[in-house]
Symmetry: C2
Subunit: 212 residues, 2 copies
Amino acid sequence: MNLDLVNTFAAVNYPSSLIEEAVNELSKFPGVGKKSALRMVLFLLKQTPSDARKLGEAVINMREKINYCKRCYNVSDYDLCNICANPKRNLQTICVVEDLRDVIAIENTNQHNGMYHVLGGVISPMNGIGPDELKIDELVMRVKAEEISEVIMALSPTPEGDTTIYYLSKKMAGLDVKISTISRGIAIGGELEYADEITLGRSIVTRIPYQM
Amino acid sequence: MNLDLVNTFAAVNYPSSLIEEAVNELSKFPGVGKKSALRMVLFLLKQTPSDARKLGEAVINMREKINYCKRCYNVSDYDLCNICANPKRNLQTICVVEDLRDVIAIENTNQHNGMYHVLGGVISPMNGIGPDELKIDELVMRVKAEEISEVIMALSPTPEGDTTIYYLSKKMAGLDVKISTISRGIAIGGELEYADEITLGRSIVTRIPYQM
């Protein structure tokens, strides 16, 4: 067997510096490697130059012109986002989330009619993210200033999420506000045998009364 | 069970038109859905505006300034690509490929020292790609003009690839040139039990003499 044939780890020489540059930039996206980036480049080469320009400019405009809601720090086209500006929402309840995706996911459930507060991440010393990088002081100030009755912690049930919830609840310890977290347990429609042991175990410890 | 909770197919309302535009554009990439595109957007929001601009401009520049080799139609920064301009390559052998990725893959094997000819696709009536969309006439003209001794068909062993090879060989039927295809069979290092039946069956029919 000719071992030269099994040469999968060779450095790639791109035939054009423009291609190389585009592959390098696109492969910075999370989950996109050099091969996927090259596939994207080939897709772009089949589009018209004006279509490719539209894509490139959408990326540039989005980052340069993006605006954040002055109250909840969600992305927004205006100074107040659609949710904060909506007079029908419950102003006394704040749902604390990590980022934009969580706002979209929770809005899609139609189960939360209150406000949001977008932290911009969770405390993660491993990734160099401390409390000062997040909108934590802003949350505490909102709770003090806006007569908030409940803060719902809707952070991922990971060590980082739990640490952040702990830190936030310490920060708000003296304030007259109810703090809750979204319930954790077996996913609805999920099968018990596929649930992980920790979730299953805690779902027994934190069992709830059955309601007909 | 509250069925409102199982609301996974709801249309997404993005909180900003800039985000929506970027998600729509990025989700045009093959294999990228709205969720992956939103993940890319969140990644971009964590980058500096100048990093996002670098990415956007790499895409725009690549598509607008891309140049193709006048001889083999591979992408190239110059009128002749590095391979066509290399005097050490064998000018009499042309390897016919679908696109840029195949050139990169074959170059990485170090097993082909000849020229290339990039068709730009394969004949695919289902996708509206006929022979006129591909660099087929250009290949026939090259074979006539450049004293080519062998044309190696390195197209994917799919119905479209096979159709294209058949069409090309008909087109070159009267010319004094040897036509070959890359060998098909069981992948080196692959296990027989996982090979599909058609490949395995044909690898027996097209068996080759054993060489010590």
